[in-house]
């Protein structure tokens, strides 16, 4: 059994209530931090822990916190990014729904470290019922004196609010989130200035993922050095993985970083192998935007070493043969799945979610979707694969926010590793007619 720090007591009855949560050791980090540590100590512990952002980019959290500008007389804000919209990722929902106080506790401790008097949890509109759960937890915390004025008798005061968004993927981008939180249209801002200098209402702001903030509690409880011992190399601690697709046991799993991918897919403790004993075809390791990898490259890297669930190991080999840990949306495809159809679904999503602000993403995502639609419908042209490749290359890196990259990477990787499948679709349209979407063209070619 791997070590669990975040969801170890998710099955305790009534853990969503403050009473049961405190009986199980909840809010210990708030007490420890507020009564025995200075804010700088807390930041130092987080730095020592080597905690990296769990939202996708994997930026060291301690460093992000230390970049926060601290001008005199200006408010600072902590904003929790609960706009979890990446297809394939649902770990934050599970955490907030089961143990809402874990997030509230992390918010208080982190805000203390940053000196933020106010914090916001920006949650996506589709999670409305989760927002209700969080609001109830916040109410309980206020009643118990854990939020509000002079928390636990110290002179630290803090207010925490839940804000429900409209349900746009783009609002998961931190600056678009801040715009939306300010009540404007959720368009990403042009950086610099970064939120650490001018964020919410022009004040210094830290935006962190739900899981990152929740992970601050065990770090304070056990100490940064102790936390850094879990995991492997620069990927310290535990990570929530949302496993979905053709596996026997889909769900949210907490793993120690450094777990071999093969073990994660096939062991009974985690995914439990591929459904119906079929063969593994491909894996999207970190949510829809990271490159898809075929079975031979996800289990072992190009040097033949076993791939591990960690930031470094998954990105071994760059984008040519590697991928990213991303937000932990682990989607498994078995041999019957069609990569082209899957890619069309992703492309449709990114087209729908593009904000329309900068040209490459606005026009390019729509164009890619149209071409993929044509291919999937059996009207593809031989030049389409190269055209797709060229379009994604011209979107990547040329946009304001990372959504352009997120739309381009799946296309690039699918063409890189599964070009033959595209060609099969284009050259033999008669084989894809009247076929249910989950049958692959390869199988049909053999039939």
């Amino acid at each position: 059994m791997g070590k669990k720090l975040l969801i170890h007591n998710d099955n305790v009855p009534g853990i969503a209530t403050l009473e049961v949560y405190r009986q199980n050791g909840g809010y210990a980090s708030v007490e420890k931090a507020l009564k025995t540590m200075t804010p700088a100590d807390v930041v130092e512990e987080v730095k020592k822990s080597g905690l990296r952002g769990r939202g996708g980019a994997g930026f060291p959290t301690g460093m992000k916190w230390s970049f926060l500008a601290k001008p005199e007389g200006v408010e600072r804000y902590l904003v929790c990014n609960a706009d979890e919209s990446e297809p394939g990722t649902f770990k934050d929902r599970y955490l907030m729904e089961k143990i809402p106080h874990a997030l509230i506790e992390g918010m208080i401790t982190s805000s203390y470290a940053l000196g933020a008097k106010t914090s916001y949890i920006y949650i996506r509109g589709e999670y409305f019922y989760v927002a209700r759960i969080l609001e109830q937890a916040i109410e309980e915390a206020y009643a118990a004196g854990l939020l509000g004025k002079n928390i636990l008798g110290t002179n630290f005061s803090h207010d925490c609010y839940v804000q429900v968004g409209g349900g746009a993927y783009i609002c998961g981008e931190e600056t678009a989130l801040l715009e939306s939180l300010e009540g404007k249209r959720g368009n990403p801002r042009i950086k610099p200035p970064f939120p650490a200098i001018a964020g919410l209402y022009g004040c210094p702001t830290v935006v962190n993922n739900v899981e990152t903030i929740a992970a601050v509690c065990p770090i304070i409880n056990m100490g940064g050095d102790e936390y850094a011992k879990i995991g492997i190399g620069r990927s310290t601690g535990t990570k929530l993985i949302s496993a979905s697709g053709h596996i026997n046991k889909p769900g949210v799993y907490e793993i120690e970083l450094g777990l071999p991918v093969e073990e994660f897919i096939y062991s009974e403790e985690y995914c439990g192998g591929i459904i119906n004993g079929r063969k593994l075809k491909a894996v999207v390791a970190g949510g829809s935007s990271v490159p898809i990898l075929p079975a031979e490259l996800i289990l072992k890297n190009d040097k033949g070493e076993a791939r591990l669930m960690s930031y470094e190991s998954l990105s071994e080999g760059g984008f040519a043969t590697g991928t990213m840990l991303g937000s932990g949306g682990f989607i498994v495809y078995d041999e019957t799945s069609s990569i082209v159809k899957n890619l069309y679904t992703f492309a449709r999503f990114y087209h729908h979610e593009s904000c329309g602000q900068c040209s490459p993403c606005r026009e390019g995502t729509g164009w890619m979707e149209k071409i993929l639609h044509r291919i999937v419908e059996g009207h593809g042209k031989p030049s389409d694969v190269d055209l797709l490749w060229d379009i994604q290359r011209k979107i990547e890196g040329n946009t304001i926010c990372p959504l352009g990259d997120a739309a381009a990477w799946p296309v690039a990787s699918a063409i890189r590793h599964f070009r033959h499948e595209f060609e099969e679709y284009i050259n033999h349209p008669e084989r894809i007619k009247d076929v249910k979407h989950y049958y692959s063209v390869n199988q049909l070619a053999g039939a």
């Binding site: 042009i190 900068c358 026009e363 055209l387 290359r393 979107i395 890196g397 040329n398």
Partner: protein
């Protein structure tokens, strides 16, 4: 002060200058000889705050971040929104990578553009036309139907033709910054997004006509000038009148003795020098209303600068020179 090098040309600029402004300073220098290294712009407008950064045509590559931190920037940056650092080195037209990326951006801007230049009033002074001519492909690779919108009359003077829009947001910034009320905004998302007044509300403001001048394409046109003439058949003249609302310094576009339209005077980069009011722009269409100063100087590489007074004068000189040469030979 910061020293910045763009395509091998160095200049000292005040702190806070953007790469684009620095490039323009280099090109505008009297002693400068060489190619135009200023990146093209579609959405940036020096007179509008927070404009720029959206169209991505001005992207450049920073090969050296600064003297202190010489690392190159990992991605191409929008030169209109990136401020210079001391010792920064930038490549624009000398980098095939940048030119390739820019070509991509131009293609993206054109895939949903109707290419109805033959019936578009903006043709001849259209920035997208110039950009497509310089950086675009001769043929389109986009073979799907293009998005279309209905034409909207924004009040009696302005026509909004969203189909041609490239989403530069300049008109929104004008409405925000030089008129009192914000009437315009962006609706919807992605490639379905549109600029709109939402309820087709007439823009009723003394300075609303300036949205026509800032529009780089033919999305916002002057209803008093629509289909009157191709712009290159009209002669621009600098003129002024005593106006109580604006400076009254305008360019009038004449055909014979008729004033076909009135616009703001434009600088080398196609930007209005002074905002003008709606009265000057739409209601003073008689040559008697204006004191004509001189033919307008148009310093822009485009169709609009052909056939103009100065060029004609130059042409006449050339012809007389040639005639003399021919006569001499005889």
């Amino acid at each position: 002060m910061a020293k910045v090098t763009i395509d091998g040309h160095s200049i000292e600029v005040p702190d806070g200058t953007t790469i684009l402004q620095a490039a323009r300073m280099i090109v505008q220098d009297k002693n400068y000889e060489g190619e135009n290294i200023a990146p093209p712009t579609m959405c940036y407008y020096s007179k509008l705050k927070t404009s720029g950064g959206y169209c991505r045509t001005c992207i450049v590559k920073v090969t050296k971040g600064s003297e202190k931190d010489p690392r190159p920037m990992p991605k191409p940056v929008a030169s209109c929104r990136t401020t210079v650092m001391d010792g920064m080195e930038v490549v624009n037209i000398t980098s095939p990578e940048v030119l390739e990326a820019r070509k991509g951006v131009v293609e993206f801007l054109l895939i949903n553009h109707p290419l109805d230049c033959p019936i578009c009033d903006q043709a001849g002074e259209c920035h997208l036309q110039d950009l497509g001519y310089e950086h675009g492909l001769a043929k389109t690779r986009y073979d799907f139907s293009r998005r279309t919108f209905n034409q909207i009359d924004i009040g009696p003077y302005i026509k909004l033709h969203m189909t041609r829009c490239i989403m530069c947001f300049r008109c929104i910034k004008v409405a925000d910054q030089i008129t009192n009320n914000r009437y315009q905004g962006m609706l919807f998302r992605g490639d379905a997004s549109e600029i709109s007044t939402y309820i087709e509300k007439a823009i009723d403001n003394d300075f609303s006509g300036n949205v026509i001048d800032v529009c780089p394409v033919g999305a916002l046109t002057d209803r008093t000038f629509r289909f009157k003439s191709r712009v290159w058949f009209t002669k621009p003249m600098d003129a002024h009148r005593n106006c109580t609302t604006c400076s009254g310094k305008v360019a009038i576009w004449m055909k014979g003795n008729d004033v076909l339209r009135v616009t703001a005077r434009k600088d080398k980069w196609g930007e209005a020098i002074d905002w003008i009011c709606n009265e000057c722009r739409f209601e003073k269409k008689d040559a008697k209303d204006w004191v004509i100063e001189k033919p307008s100087h148009i310093d822009r590489h485009s169709v609009i600068s052909q056939n103009h007074y100065e060029n004609l004068a130059q042409l006449k000189l050339d012809i007389s020179k040639q005639q003399k040469q021919i006569a001499g030979k005889k």
